[in-house]
Amino acid sequence: MHIIESGNVAAASGVKLARAQVIAAYPITPQTPLTEKLSEFVDAGEMQAEYIPVESEHSALAVCIAASSTGARAFTATSANGLLYMVEQVHWAAGARLPIVMCVVNRGIGAPWTVWNDHQDSISQRDAGWIQLYACDHQQIIDTVIQAFLLAETVSIPVMVCYDGYLLSHTYMPFDVPDPDKVDEFLPAFKPAYALDPKQPANLNTVTLPDIRPDVRGNLAPGYMEIRHNLHVDLRRAIDKVAEIDARFQKIFNRGGHPFIEPYCCEDADFIAVCLGSLSYQLRDVVDELREEGLKAGVAGLRLYRPFPEQAMVELLAKAKGVVVFEKALSYGNQGALFTDIKAALYPGPARPFVKNFILGLGGREIKTADLLKTFREACTQGPASIDTPQWIGLKL
């Protein structure tokens, strides 16, 4: 069924279809309408879930961690400083291997206060051990939320579904709400790998020593380092699972086909722009224009940021002459995080396209298509000439 609704309602509809059993959230702009919608679903009896109006984001994820440890499908959502307030729990959820799904409605972080969009919030959590998926439009939001639960439960790793605050969360677009029966077929009920149960008592997340240690029967149990290594290995394996789940989704719903990176005009492109989120759709207009000018340009919207799909990225970019990374986040004092990831991925290859980095749209600074066009064109035509990295777009100093 096609409806016209906001990105936040698309996310809420996905959570409802996924039959989340415990939802906990603390309001923060621009995530708020998502949690309001979920509380409405639960209050109206349209959704069988426990909605827990917690007193902080730290507690929101605490509730999800405990609920997931008890065997329930758990969901939360946040933005910006809310995400930062729960950081301890973000890392904890990954270490405890809990298949929680969290929407991060991307917003810049203070100080100074901003409520508008950039990606600094979720990018700051790229090393937490979560899977990070980015959506470009409303259809992708609802589809990705549904897929995220299956992915999380398949690999026992929590998943962040990130989408742009305001640009997607508060704009209205038509999208298809998948048929509930088909979603049930796609996403079976949650069967936890383990759960708190008085009949089978276990002490979870205990203090773990630096070295491996035998249990009371003499069997060796892993130490902290083995447990963390397993998380990393399973995250790398999750790359294949993302592709499998995308294929399964495509078979049932006839949408998808680009599990890692969504390319536009990249096949013969000499110059490829790379970015996260809705910006990649804005860059499609730029690519069209440059193509008319005779420049073979393309744009790649990265969907899976963690684990980083290096192989797919290299395959896409290796034939290009130049790569231009547009980022709404920055590793302060260095470069954009995505830029460094891409450069690292390309380094071992025989052909290394030049890679440039542009920072833009921080704290909701308007991203003008004309500026993108000018920047992308110049970056292509100037070629590998070295520039200070990163460059800033739209800066008014």
Binding site: I52, E55, H58, A62, A66, S69, D197, D215
Partner: protein
């Protein structure tokens, strides 16, 4: 109290394995053992970082036979909420959820999530064992460290501020049940837990657990010192059931009787060495006034 257990009437089954990692003379370990007997097997525990985390054992060995979720320091109340929410969602309604935290995890870093859970009316038992400082990290001051106490972060003059009255804060949440307990009188605690299990909504316990290492006394005197705290009228055993306050056990028996001087309690532990005679006299005055209030309340009740 309607029930009065005896040591012979307690369940024989031990839910805490012997040989755990508690220090000798640990007040917590006494109440943990007795408390788990009262909570019973059909219980899920939620525990933030504290001495209890260590007492319960290091992976892959556990001293407890109950399922236990170790959670981050500030999140105990919320984590208990998550367990309760999941049990509701899964249709498992007969399991007791008990959070067991230290004074830091309750009164300081944990108070926000505890207050939130209580305001939401979550059906669980929150047990704070108060050893009156951050003992697990090496005796730093907490919100419930009494005034004048020497800790590693109040090393010379002692703590300048008075102890935070956490049971009063929890009572202000209009809980159906708030109670105190002490390692010196474990049966009083047992009976109160048994009662709490019959009451819906959040139940709060504040337990005094003498700590030989942190308080500066010989481990063999843990119970003696716990009793002295009660007998001197410094720490009172009481319960507030549906808003009604009453003294219980050894504190109830103190009404109309001569109490031990507070100085005897202070002299028994090296942590009080910074207290001056004036300060002790001042504290004695405060305790006398508190007890005069109890006596008045009792007299008024007798009249009614």
């Amino acid at each position: 109290m309607s029930v009065n257990s005896t040591i012979l009437s307690l369940p024989e089954e031990e839910l805490v394995h012997p040989g755990n990692r508690a220090c000798a003379g640990c007040g917590l370990s006494i109440l943990y053992r007795i408390g788990l007997k009262a909570l019973g097997r059909n219980t899920i525990l939620v525990v933030p970082p504290s001495c209890l985390t260590v007492l319960q054992g290091l992976y892959p060995i556990a001293a407890t036979q109950l399922p236990c979720l170790n959670v981050t320091f500030a999140s105990t109340g919320a984590a208990a909420t998550g367990v309760i929410g999941a049990l509701k969602a899964l249709g498992k309604t007969d399991i007791t959820v008990a959070a067991w935290a230290g004074d830091g995890g309750t009164a300081d870093i944990g108070i926000q999530s505890l207050s939130g859970a209580c305001e939401r009316g979550e059906n669980f038992i929150f047990i704070c064992y108060d050893n009156e400082a951050y003992m697990n990290t090496g005796v730093q001051r907490s919100g419930t460290t009494p005034q004048g106490v020497i800790t590693t972060t109040t090393p010379i003059r002692g703590k300048l501020q008075p102890k935070k009255d956490v049971p009063a804060i929890m009572a202000a949440h209009n809980l159906n049940y708030v109670a105190t307990g002490t390692a010196a009188y474990p049966l009083d605690f047992y009976d109160k837990i048994m009662k709490a299990k019959t009451i819906t909504g959040p139940k709060y316990f504040h337990l005094q657990t003498p700590c030989p290492a942190g308080w500066g006394f010989d481990p063999r005197y843990s119970v003696k010192i716990g009793r002295l705290a009660v007998e001197s009228g410094l720490f009172d055993l009481y319960e507030i059931e549906h808003g009604e306050f009453r003294l219980t056990g050894a504190s109830l028996k103190l009404l109309g009787k001569k109490r031990q001087p507070v100085a005897a309690y202070f002299e028994s532990q090296s942590r009080f060495r910074a207290l001056t005679e004036e300060m002790i006299a001042d504290i004695q005055k405060q305790v006398d006034e508190k007890w005069a209030g109890y006596e008045q309340k009792m007299a008024k009740k007798m009249k009614e």
